[in-house]
């Protein structure tokens, strides 16, 4: 049940992430796929640039998944893949996949992992607009 965690500058293979959590002990596989949207706060987004502090991001991601295993002891397999570098509209930025015996825990664990990832994992997003760029969430 070692989680499959990675940060990559290559296109994310969603099918591979889902396959990574496949197990006969699970009756439910749940996934979240985050993609690049064409607008943010009313501004048109052209592309995104993700930067990662890889070693800390993987350490913190490990903590997040460990918390999920504590909260849902029936959790079987977990995969989290986050992209870094330059992404175009529609590209997959993150995939979270979990496998559990039953569906209720799969929804809850998947949401917990993506929500907590956004709070603690050391990845930064710079949005590129028609007229400039901005680091997301940097200022109040």
């Amino acid at each position: 049940m070692t989680p499959h965690l990675s940060i990559t500058d290559q296109s994310i293979d969603v099918a591979a992430a889902l396959a990574a959590v496949q197990t006969d002990a699970a009756g439910a596989v749940n996934s979240f796929i985050g993609t690049v949207r064409n607008q943010s706060g009313g501004r048109r987004v052209r592309r995104l640039h993700y930067e990662s502090y890889d070693s800390m991001a993987l350490t913190q991601l490990g903590h997040v998944v460990a918390q999920a295993y504590e909260k849902w002891p029936m959790l079987q397999e977990v995969a989290v893949v986050h992209r870094k570098g330059t992404l175009n509209l529609g590209d997959v930025a993150v995939v979270v996949a979990v496998a559990t015996p039953h569906r209720a825990e799969s929804f809850a664990a998947c949401q917990f992992i993506i929500d907590t990832l956004k709070q603690v994992v050391t990845i930064w997003k710079r949005e590129e607009y028609e007229d400039g760029t901005e680091w997301v969430a940097a200022h109040p």
């Binding site: 986050h82 956004k118 603690v120 050391t122 990845i123 930064w124 680091w135 200022h139």
Partner: protein, 80 residues
């Protein structure tokens, strides 16, 4: 005693370089380091938050730091 600080995201833009070497503050703690960084680069104080990581973990203000630690400034994260 010199410290090496890794900078990411907007903190790298503010400081203008990806790493910074500086003499350790007295006391050599996370809190004193943040105080000194904010004094040198006031734009850091305008951020929604600015944490310090020591050896890949978020570090509290009272934590001691030394030349063998991997230290980084962590501006507000925005993964996902």
């Amino acid at each position: 005693m010199a410290l090496k600080i890794a900078l990411f995201g907007i903190t790298r833009d503010i400081v203008g370089q990806p790493t910074l070497e500086m003499p350790a503050p007295a006391p050599a703690t996370v809190g004193a380091l943040l105080d000194r960084m904010r004094a040198s680069y006031p734009a850091l104080g305008q951020l929604r938050s600015c944490a310090v990581a020591v050896n890949n973990e978020y570090a509290p203000a009272e934590q001691a730091i030394g030349p063998n630690d991997e230290i980084a400034l962590i501006p507000p994260v925005a993964g996902g």
